[in-house]
Symmetry: C2
Subunit: 323 residues, 2 copies
Amino acid sequence: MKRPWAGQVEKPPEEHIPRFDPHNPLCPGNTRANGEVNPDYDSTFEFENDFPALQPHAPDPGSCQHPLFQSKAARGVCKVMCFHPWSDVTLPLMKKDEVVKVIDKWTELVEELGSTYPWVQIFENKGAMMGCSNPHPHCQVWASNFLPNEPALSDRCQRAYYQKHGEPLLLQYAKQEAERKERVVVESSDWLAVVPYWATWPYQTLLLPRRHILRISDLTADEKEGLADIMKRLLTKYDNLFEVSFPYSMGWHGAPTGPHLKDDNSHWQLHAHYYPPLLRSASVKKFMVGYEMLALEQRDLTPEQAAEKLRNLPDEHYKTREK
Amino acid sequence: MKRPWAGQVEKPPEEHIPRFDPHNPLCPGNTRANGEVNPDYDSTFEFENDFPALQPHAPDPGSCQHPLFQSKAARGVCKVMCFHPWSDVTLPLMKKDEVVKVIDKWTELVEELGSTYPWVQIFENKGAMMGCSNPHPHCQVWASNFLPNEPALSDRCQRAYYQKHGEPLLLQYAKQEAERKERVVVESSDWLAVVPYWATWPYQTLLLPRRHILRISDLTADEKEGLADIMKRLLTKYDNLFEVSFPYSMGWHGAPTGPHLKDDNSHWQLHAHYYPPLLRSASVKKFMVGYEMLALEQRDLTPEQAAEKLRNLPDEHYKTREK
Ligand SMILES: O=P(O)(O)O[C@H]1O[C@H](CO)[C@@H](O)[C@H](O)[C@H]1O
Ligand SMILES: O=P(O)(O)O[C@H]1O[C@H](CO)[C@@H](O)[C@H](O)[C@H]1O
């Protein structure tokens, strides 16, 4: 962290976004690329991505005998989901019951797409720095006919731990972190957000329920309220860190679905990962490059330092605070 | 690739870099952060990083009984290595015998540091977009007292293939690609550069020798000349793609060293990975974000499309070509 930085400087996140832009395809009442007109929605709104990476009827690539040249069709569905009708709000600035509606919609989509697809990936790319090309508050939900690499690895590790210790890895982990305290950012009776012991992104966090929960669709109404609350608290701290709308990629991991709904998934514990790129300021990010890509992630600050910094930030958002 | 792009646009790489800058700590004769004065070098030049991520005497973190909270001291050495005394050249614009000197220095460092350290990672972050903060042509060499994640995985997979098929994975792979041709970018009698079958970065390439070679230090003088030649050809194509000094992270992987010098490493094959971030133009990059971080890399173009595009570019650098 003492290295002088004469490298790339990012444009800090845009602070003045109009509430409604007649040319933004995510706003209520506007026309999208494929000619469809958005309804005049007043809460959440989802539709199929007009430029999907996964399609339900992708062609079969054909087979090859050679072990080093194996491929299979990747089939699925890509949805876009708006959080709110206004472009100038973000989750930490939304009302708690509006955030609960987002969680309800996530649940609905996981149930709908998860009835057949083995994996439903909810993820949010927030901020231009994270490849997001539309400032309107939204996330994406991609369902696939296969278990992608990251959840496959997560499944394997959680299963191995469960087989050895008879307890879900992340349930035990949450208990330990709640006791150790040094990596806790925010907590409540139902939820816990920590900078994980293994964090590599500077302000990476892991959001965990405190009881054993396989999927987002298993949350009670109370737990959804608690989740809305802790998400607002965590994201407010993120925004307060450099006093900008904090960029990140986040996503949910829960037990596999579709054909796996009938398997024993006791080793799984629902959780969300937050991966923010910023390191030193609103404009200097962490570059996950050379050594990181070719060898191992290099940490610029420790999880304990990051957690302490976030924990000590005010709970009130810098935009609504009185100066 | 048909998605409209209204997202982040990068500043294209700087084209006018002074040959000598009295304030650049990498130039010959200048004083560095720690007060040391660089020699008036006229070829390559290496020194210990003034802000090292790895240190030979890093303290022991102490031990913890809990299986989820395990850590060990990461010890090592970080070196910086300049390719040339001039700041305004890059490898594709350097003379072939100057590039041979770079390869000789790599060999020397792998031999020196690899005599004790199990892993010596040579890597180059080129361009501000790849977190490089100094335009002077240089790379880094980090040696560690452990096998980092990526080489550990590579070791495991190469070993498993060798045990099953009795031939090094990457030797067989190079043979196959040389026959199939569709992913080849440049080739010579000794070397082959392909956009690998599994590429995820848009113009990712893999540079491979055609005979079985464990480490860079095993190259013959002829093979080093051939390597200088194919590197110049590959990097010229990269620069010609968008007519900019093409950013990337690259690095060498070879059989482990130090205590592993006495092991049987027949499953290993020396290779270099090139990971460039640009996708559509000199200013629009591929964002490895949401779905990629949480699930699986999503390819915006196929390896065959990328290889064809690179293969068909001229062999002469756009800067030296007559217009
Ligand atoms: O070593 P540098 O050039 O200061 O830093 C660069 O390379 C390092 C190793 O890949 C990364 O950890 C840094 O994020 C990057 O900015
Ligand atoms: O889907 P979008 O917003 O067009 O695109 C963004 O998210 C995708 C999924 O993480 C990435 O593949 C793209 O690189 C990124 O720019």
